[in-house]
């Protein structure tokens, strides 16, 4: 009897120890999951923040063009945790390496976010992760999206799940042109979004196409191709609500949930 009681006691102690250990480990995961569930993101992704209390998370879709020239969408996650002003970019086998252009866009986005909030953000760490097909994510076309995501995280606001943005970001908040809007818009449409924010002057795009002529001789076929351009009204062709935005402040006002 005494031995049985002793064994029960030992088992209980071990189980309680393990529960305590796991409880600590799961505290952050619960916080992260709650934030993901509360976010306006169309789909949830794992958190990039390092075992810290994530108090804000935003998931945005990044329109891009793949190696074959077709439009595609990448996932951008922006998170904020308590910290000391560090800016982390995350990468792994599943998420691509971020080149220095994208890192520059992140810095510009932060300077703008600091201006808006009048906060130094020294008490926060920010985490950026992009998940895409390509091994390396390059170019500055994610600048506007990175800035909108950063503003939402810092201000603690939610973004609409129906809108996507493309464009570079300048120091004064101007959104610069990026090109390949029509291809990107097709990907945006097929992913189920309704609004696509584009830089000024890019709602109508000159899209290249080839016209080819074949000449047959007795021994061979000669094919001659000429590249031409046609003007594409992206809204008409895709059925999307295309909105031209001059700066990130206008873009944010259109993307934030009221």
């Amino acid at each position: 009897m005494r031995r049985t009681l002793f064994c029960v006691l030992i088992v209980c102690v071990i189980v309680a120890f393990l529960i305590g250990y796991e409880a600590k480990k799961n505290v952050e995961i619960v916080i992260v999951n709650q934030t993901i569930a509360a976010s306006a993101s169309p789909s949830a992704v794992p958190s990039a923040a390092v075992n810290k209390e994530v108090f804000a998370q935003v998931l945005l879709k990044l329109p891009a063009v793949d190696r074959e020239g077709n439009g595609t969408l990448a996932d951008l996650t922006v998170e904020a945790s308590s910290g000391s002003g560090k800016i982390f970019i995350g990468f792994s086998k599943g998420s691509p390496l971020l080149n220095t252009d994208t890192q520059d866009s992140i810095q510009t986005a932060l300077r703008i976010a600091r201006k808006i909030t009048s906060e130094a953000l020294d008490d926060k760490d920010l985490f950026y992760t992009i998940t895409a097909e390509s091994d390396v994510v390059g170019g500055k076309s994610a600048g506007a999206a990175v800035t909108v995501g950063t503003m939402a995280v810092v201000l603690g606001e939610k973004l609409k799940s129906s809108a996507v943005i493309t464009g570079t970001i300048e120091e004064d908040g101007t959104i610069g042109q990026v090109g390949r809007i029509f291809e990107k818009a097709k990907a945006v449409k097929s992913a189920g979004f309704t609004t696509f924010l584009v830089p000024q002057g890019e709602a109508v795009e000159r899209v290249p196409f080839e016209t080819c002529r074949e000449q047959r001789t007795a021994t061979q076929v000669i094919r001659e191709c000429v590249q031409q351009f046609r003007e594409v009204d992206v809204a008409k062709e895709t059925g999307l609500n295309i909105v031209e935005v001059a700066n990130v402040y206008d873009a944010y006002a259109l993307m934030v949930e009221k």
């Binding site: 209980c12 796991e22 800016i87 970019i89 792994s92 220095t100 992140i106 810095q107 390396v136």
Partner: protein, 205 residues
């Protein structure tokens, strides 16, 4: 009898509560290793750059802090490769460990793969709770197998900067060519390592 049972139940609850608290408190926290690596400045001069690798229980993420520096893709790749090399050398998975890399020097850009071995050693030291020697520097790239050390460029300039920074040991790969080895080795011990395990033995206290 009833009193004894009640006493036993109280004892059970109390010891379980204590065990729960102990379990909660012993959950491992983040560990950080600070180490120096050698680089080449834009002017072609050797420089010693201070890095910080931290590991935290997590989901196997790899992150770099871009607050003070830009990382070129080859440097990011090198950190990922170092993670895999450390796993291989330790014989254990880092699936449940998040790793972060930070530059502590005033360095605007981190590029190249020559810090690969230094990253791997820092990750291993962190995992094992060992310290990287602060008087030693390693400059070698990791081979495709994630084990062998490969030669790097600008080794002589890097060794010179290590001497100027007061270091006493500089580790290079076994196949590293040095133009001024004879002169440099009068001022610093130059050691050669074939693989990451040998380098770890040399670099860690």
């Amino acid at each position: 009898m009833r009193n004894t049972l009640a006493l036993l139940a109280v004892l059970l609850v109390l010891t379980s509560a204590v065990a729960f608290i102990v379990g909660y408190l012993v959950f491992p926290h983040s560990r950080t290793t600070i180490f120096d690596a050698a680089g080449i400045s834009d002017l072609g001069k050797g420089v010693i750059v201070r890095f910080e690798v931290s590991s935290t229980p997590g989901e196997g993420k790899t992150l770099v802090n871009v607050a003070n520096a830009r990382y070129k893709e080859d440097a990011e790749h090198s950190f990922l490769q170092a993670r895999a090399a450390a796993e291989k050398a330790l014989g254990s998975s880092l699936e449940t460990t998040d790793l972060t890399l930070d530059v502590n020097s005033e360095q605007s850009s981190v590029a190249g793969e020559s810090a690969g071995a230094a990253f791997a050693i820092a990750i291993m030291a962190n995992q094992l709770g060992r310290k990287v020697r602060n008087d030693a520097v390693i400059s070698a790239a990791l081979g495709e197998d994630g084990f062998t050390l490969e030669p790097i460029g600008g080794a002589d300039e890097k060794i010179l900067s290590a001497i100027e920074s007061g270091k006493t040991l500089f580790v290079v790969s076994a196949t590293q060519e040095l133009r001024y080895e004879k002169d440099l080795s009068k001022k610093i011990t130059i050691a050669r390592a074939q693989n990451i395990r040998q380098a770890f033995q040399l670099m860690v206290v």
